[in-house]
C-alpha cells in the first residue's frame, strides 16, 4: 500500500509498473536527435485535419491506441484515464478521448501533466482500483501558438529565451505487473512563484519549482544525485536548466553531471530554430514514452528521476501583470523492485 514518507512524497511498494507506453510526434520532433525512437511520427502537424485542435486530439488518440496495442490490451481493460493538455478547458484530452467510454479524470498541470498523470495512474494502480490505468497528455505547436501567442503566419519576433511547443503526445499504461520499469516513488510539487513575469521566459519561471521538487525528493529519500543514472526535467530549456543547476549549487549539490532536460533533448538546437529548447506537455511526454521508459525496460538505465515542469499561467493573467507560478511533479522510475 502506498504510504506518505515525507511531505508530498509517496512510496509505492506493490510493484506498480509502466506496463506499456507510446509516443506520437510531429515532423520536427522526428527530425530531432531522438527521431527514430517514437512509435508514430507524422509527416507534418496537421494530420490531414481541418483544425490544429483536432490534430492535437488525434495525436493523443494515437498515443493511447498504440500504447494499448503494444500492451496487447483493449480499451475495456483500462479502468481510469488521467489526461490533460494545454488547450483551454483541457479540450485536447476531452475530444481526443471522448470515444473511449472509460472513466476519465481531466488534469491540468500545464507542461508537468505527464508526471502528474503518471503519478495518479500509478497511485490508482497501487490502490488496486482496477487493473490497468492510462496517463495521457499532448501538446501541439500550432494550437498552442494561436491560443497563447500569435497566428501561425504572423511574423512576430521570438526572443532567444522563448521555447518551442512540441507537437506530440505520450501515453503510459500502469498496472501491478512483474515487469520493469517500476514506479517507485512520486513527489507531488508545490506551486512555486519565482516572480518571473516574462511569458517568453518560461524556463526561468519553472526552474524554481523543479529545484524545490527534486530537492524535497532527495531529502525525503535520503539520496543524492549520484544515486541516480539521470535526473530528467520536463522542459526547462537552456535558461531554466542553467538556473536550476545554479540553485542546487548554492546548496552545495552538483546536479549538472546527472541532469538532462527533455526540452534540450528533443530538438537539435543548432539546426532547428527552437531558441531555448522545446516545451509543452508533449515534449516531456514524448521523451519519457519514446526514450526514457524503453531505455529502462531494456536495462540501459536503472534508476531515474523524471520531474516534468509546468507554468501555471494564462494569457489573461500575464497581461494583467501577474508573475508566472511554476510547478513540478516528480516520478522515480527504476528497473528493479
Amino acid at each position: 500500500m502506498a504510504k506518505l514518507i515525507s511531505e508530498g512524497t509517496i512510496e509505492l511498494d506493490r510493484g506498480v509498473s509502466v506496463y506499456s507506453c507510446a509516443a506520437a510526434v510531429g515532423k520536427m520532433e522526428s527530425d530531432g536527435p531522438l527521431g527514430n525512437c517514437f512509435d508514430y511520427a507524422a509527416e507534418g502537424a496537421e494530420l490531414g485535419l481541418t483544425t490544429w485542435e483536432k490534430a492535437e486530439s488525434t495525436f493523443q488518440q494515437y498515443a493511447f491506441d498504440i500504447a494499448l496495442r503494444k500492451g496487447k490490451l483493449i480499451k475495456e481493460d483500462i479502468s481510469f484515464i488521467f489526461a490533460g493538455d494545454l488547450l483551454n478547458q483541457c479540450t485536447g484530452s476531452a475530444y481526443g478521448l471522448r470515444d473511449t467510454d472509460i472513466s476519465f479524470i481531466g488534469l491540468y498541470g500545464a507542461c508537468s501533466t505527464m508526471a502528474e498523470s503518471l503519478a495518479m495512474a500509478s497511485l490508482f494502480a497501487d490502490m488496486r482500483l482496477g487493473e490497468y490505468f492510462a496517463a495521457v497528455t499532448s501538446s501541439h505547436f500550432c494550437s498552442a501558438e494561436r491560443q497563447f501567442r500569435f497566428p501561425i503566419n504572423y511574423g512576430g519576433v521570438r526572443p532567444p529565451t522563448a521555447q518551442w511547443t512540441a507537437t506530440g503526445a505520450g501515453c503510459c499504461i500502469t498496472s501491478v505487473a512483474e515487469k520493469p520499469p517500476y514506479v517507485k516513488r512520486v513527489t507531488i510539487g508545490k506551486i512555486t512563484d519565482m516572480g518571473i513575469k516574462d511569458a517568453n521566459n518560461m524556463g526561468a519561471a519553472m526552474a524554481g519549482a523543479a529545484y524545490d521538487t527534486i530537492k524535497r525528493h532527495l531529502l525525503a529519500t535520503k539520496t543524492t544525485p549520484d544515486d541516480y543514472d539521470v535526473i530528467y526535467t520536463g522542459d526547462l530549456g537552456q535558461v531554466g536548466t542553467d538556473l536550476m543547476c545554479e540553485l542546487f549549487r548554492r546548496d552545495g549539490i552538483e546536479i549538472e553531471p546527472k541532469h538532462k532536460d527533455c526540452g534540450l533533448m528533443l530538438y537539435d538546437r543548432e539546426k532547428q530554430d527552437v531558441h531555448a529548447g522545446g516545451s509543452g506537455c508533449g515534449c516531456s511526454a514524448s521523451v519519457l514514452c519514446g526514450h526514457i521508459l524503453p531505455q529502462i525496460a531494456e536495462g540501459k538505465l536503472h534508476k531515474v528521476l523524471f520531474a516534468a515542469t509546468g507554468a501555471l499561467m494564462s494569457t489573461t493573467i500575464v497581461q494583467q501583470g501577474e508573475s508566472i507560478p511554476g510547478i513540478s511533479h516528480l516520478v522515480e522510475i527504476s528497473d528493479t523492485l
Partner: protein
C-alpha cells in the same frame, strides 16, 4: 527557497542570453531598407504614369499591402520575418501581415466570429492610437484656427 525573488530575477537575467545585436540589427536594417526601396520603385512607377506624389504614395501602400498579403497567404512572410525582425515589422507590410495572418488563422472559427472579429487582434491598437493621436492634433489645430484664423 534558498534565494530571494530579487536575486533570482538578477540571476535569470544573467542566464537569459540576449539577442545578438550584431546580427539582428544589420539584418533588420538591410531587409527593412530593401522593402523601402521596393516601395520607392513602385512610387517612381506610379509617378511616371502621371500621378501626383500623394496618389503615387497611396498606390504604393496598396501595392505593398497586396504583396505582403500574398506572402502571408503562401506562408512566406513569417519565414522572412524570422530573419528580418523589425525589418518586416515596421514597414507597412508588417501592418498588412498583422491584419492578414489572424484573418487566415481564425477562419476555422467562422468568417464572422473568426476572420471578421479577430482580423484586428494585433493591428487594432495601431489604428486606435494612430487615430486618437491624430484626433488630439485635430482639436489643437481647430482651436488654433479659431483664434489664429
Amino acid at each position: 527557497m534558498n534565494i530571494s525573488k530579487k536575486e533570482y530575477a538578477q540571476l535569470a537575467n544573467r542566464y537569459s542570453a540576449p539577442s545578438k545585436l550584431y546580427i539582428t540589427v544589420p539584418k533588420a536594417f538591410a531587409i527593412g531598407g530593401l522593402i523601402c526601396c521596393i516601395g520607392q520603385f513602385f512610387t517612381d512607377l506610379y509617378l511616371m504614369i502621371g500621378n501626383d506624389i500623394d496618389t503615387a504614395s497611396a498606390y504604393t501602400s496598396i501595392t505593398l499591402v497586396l504583396i505582403s498579403a500574398l506572402l502571408t497567404g503562401f506562408g512566406q512572410y513569417e519565414r522572412i520575418a524570422k530573419h528580418a525582425g523589425a525589418g518586416t515589422l515596421v514597414p507597412i507590410t508588417g501592418f498588412a501581415n498583422a491584419v492578414v495572418s489572424p484573418a487566415l488563422e481564425f477562419k476555422t472559427e467562422g468568417y464572422i466570429l473568426g476572420t471578421g472579429a479577430k482580423m484586428f487582434i494585433i493591428a487594432g491598437p495601431v489604428i486606435v492610437y494612430g487615430i486618437a493621436a491624430a484626433f488630439v492634433y485635430g482639436i489643437i489645430l481647430f482651436i488654433i484656427s479659431l483664434f489664429g484664423g
